[in-house]
């Protein structure tokens, strides 16, 4: 029996609730324990209800069809590609800072989207100039320079 994504999401929340309970019990004072514990118990109970509902739903073909229709369709391949781009950008900023990551990312993304060299280059430079003007000159906030260039 193949389980759907909605089951795994509910199961995640159930696990989160149980984890919250186990952690809350270690907080010592009642003031620091009472609300995290109460909230975790509610998450666990409602998570268990959702898991049970998902399991029961699988036995009702009609209900399953309705649920599937109500969930918006997304394209997994495109999602992972976009996630990859965002994660790469975050990592590039962390390592090399905004001055290098911003134009490189903008240029590479536009080239990947099959834009011309000139358009990609102009856009990358324009974005860097915009960021510099708004943040460094306008708001007087220095941009992060990246681990490689000595930022901590």
């Amino acid at each position: 029996m193949k389980l759907k994504g909605s089951f795994w999401v509910a199961a995640f929340f159930l696990a989160l609730g149980i984890f919250g309970i186990s952690q809350s019990l270690t907080f010592g004072y009642w003031e620091s324990m009472v609300l995290p514990l109460g909230v975790s118990i509610v998450i666990s109970i409602l998570g268990a209800v959702e898991v049970a509902r998902e399991l029961l739903k699988r036995r009702e073909a009609a209900a399953r069809e309705t649920a599937e229709k109500s969930q918006p369709k997304i394209e997994s391949r495109r999602l992972f590609l976009v996630l990859g781009w965002v994660a790469s950008f975050c990592l590039a900023v962390y390592l090399f800072g905004f001055y290098i990551a911003t134009p490189t990312f903008a240029f590479a993304y536009l080239k990947w989207r099959k834009r011309s060299w000139l358009v990609a280059l102009i856009f990358a430079v324009a974005l860097l100039a915009f960021s510099y003007l708004v943040f460094v000159i306008g708001l007087k906030v220095p941009l992060y320079k990246g681990l490689v260039f000595g930022a901590r």
Binding site: S6, V9, L46, Q71, L79
Partner: protein
């Protein structure tokens, strides 16, 4: 009270505030025109820019930006047949056929005038209501506040997610996340796992940006709704005729405005409901219902009056009770807290002039936005032809720089990414993101009010008239589906002996 109104006017008309408002209105109109981008995507992006500003400047900027988004959205609905924002979809039904008939200018004139007037009048209605709600608000103490926060989460949980259970899970997860870090009363580090990064808890701006801004971008891209390449080259004519149309149908405009305002006051009912409801009543009461869908100007006036009218009502509920009626208002609530203003009864006592300034700000932003649209609608419509290939890296880069500016911690890039994925999963599987945000934002206050209430009144602190009433409302709200079934069964019993 009169002094507060005077102070509000004086604050709003300061040159800096007026300039900020003008810029925000312009930005809001542009964002409104671009299909796919809404207040939900762009408001989190603005948070890092405003958190260091004085409270009134920051909030005027945000409210002016949001107040005109639907006005901008009407332009792409009418000229391009693409709704700029969700609530503009109803406008499209008659607005675009009008453009096809060569009456685009008239439709724009009618839409913008009804939007503008529909945004101004409810703001004054809300201003007039403030003295009426004050006595109720002043009766609230710690137990009442704790229950009010739970009620707010329940409202969003029940009305903005796939089901009440999923909504409550989301709200509780938000509360749980708010407990991460150092507990000021006992000094215990909770859910920190020995990480110095988590000692101060999760930051609001990366969480909000990830949960709404980034996840909406992911969603748009993965659904392929990203290519808006059509050029809008429509001659601007007949705008004055459209303005006259609003006067000709002034009762329709008035009805739609009042309906929109009332829907705005009630938490959880979206602008979409307001616009479709008003479109429906316009068709029902029209002498020519057969003309609807084929370019009837009433079909433009009714939804456009309603969508802007809703905002003043929503803002009043958010400020006076601390209950945000929508995802955007939950973001506003976060913004209020970020600039040091706690929405709810205390705001109406301690920051009354600010509350009045914002309501007046909605009115003024609508006037300014309307005027810009009337003169520059065709130019604004061209913005909708910007391709998402350029928007995605642009928004992502500005968002990440904004996060760094707000937190000065590069590790928060990971926070944005994680909550971007969490937000996407929640959106896909029907878990309410606004409820999570509200739980997170109000978690600290909820804990303080609850602990104080327990210490003063004991564990049964909610056994007082107002908290009990709020508890009953909350239980009814969360079980409305089952209660409806029970009532139907009771009603049906005599018929089926």
């Amino acid at each position: 009270m009169l002094e507060a109104y005077g102070a509000a006017l004086a604050t709003l008309f300061q040159p800096l505030n007026l300039l900020i408002m003008l810029l925000a209105v312009f930005a809001g109109l542009i964002i409104g025109v671009i299909p796919g981008l809404s207040g939900l995507v762009m408001l989190p992006l603005l948070l890092p820019f405003v958190f260091r500003m004085p409270a009134e400047v920051a909030l005027i900027l945000l409210i002016a930006f949001h107040a005109v988004i639907f006005t901008g959205g009407s332009i792409s609905s009418i000229l391009l047949n693409i709704p700029g924002t969700g609530p503009n979809a109803a406008t499209m039904l008659d607005g675009f056929p009008m453009t096809q008939k060569g009456e685009g200018g008239r439709a724009i004139g009618a839409a913008v005038t009804s939007s503008m007037a529909g945004g101004v009048v409810p703001a004054f209605l809300a201003l007039a209501m403030v003295p009426l709600v004050m006595p109720v608000i002043l009766a609230f103490g710690q137990p009442e506040m704790a229950m009010l926060i739970l009620l707010g989460i329940s409202f969003l949980a029940a009305l903005t997610g796939g089901s009440a259970i999923k909504g409550i899970i989301a709200g509780m997860v938000g509360l749980l996340i708010s407990f991460v870090g150092y507990h000021s009363i006992t000094g215990v580090h909770r859910f920190s796992f020995g990480s110095a990064f988590l000692y101060d808890g999760i930051e609001l701006i990366p969480l909000a940006l990830g949960l709404f801004g980034l996840s909406e971008l992911f969603y748009l891209i993965t659904r392929g709704e990203t290519t808006i390449v059509r050029r809008a080259a429509v001659r601007m004519a007949g705008v004055v005729e459209g303005m006259k149309d609003v006067w000709r149908h002034r009762w329709l405009w008035f009805r739609s405005t009042v309906i929109g305002y009332i829907i705005g006051i009630i938490p959880g009912i979206g602008a979409e409901v307001a616009t479709w409801l008003c479109y429906g009543q316009a068709k029902q009461t029209s002498k020519h219902p057969e003309a609807f869908g084929k370019g009837a100007v009433e079909g433009v006036i009714a939804p456009e009056s309603a969508n802007n009218a809703k905002e003043a009502g929503s803002l009043l509920t958010t400020m006076a009770l601390g209950i945000p009626g929508s995802a955007v208002m939950a973001l506003f609530l976060a913004a209020f807290l970020m600039v040091g203003v706690t929405p709810g009864p205390s705001m109406m006592v301690e920051h009354l002039p600010l509350a009045l300034t914002l309501l007046l700000g909605i009115a003024l932003a609508n006037i300014v936005g309307g005027a810009i649209c009337l003169f520059a609608a065709p130019q604004l419509a061209r913005v909708a032809s910007v391709h998402f290939d350029f928007l995605f890296p642009g928004i992502l880069i500005v968002a990440m720089i904004g996060v760094y500016v707000a937190t000065l911690s590069p590790l928060d890039f990971a926070t944005v990414l994680i909550f971007g994925i969490v937000g996407l999963v929640m959106k896909i599987y029907g878990y309410s993101r606004p409820a999570l945000l509200l739980g997170f934002v109000l978690g600290g206050l909820f804990e303080n009010y609850s602990l104080l209430s327990i210490k003063i009144y004991g564990p049964l602190f909610f056994a007082r008239p107002i908290p009990l009433t709020l508890l009953v409302i909350m239980l009814v709200l969360l079980n409305q589906r089952y209660l409806k079934r029970a009532f139907s069964a009771l009603r049906g019993r005599p018929a089926r002996p």
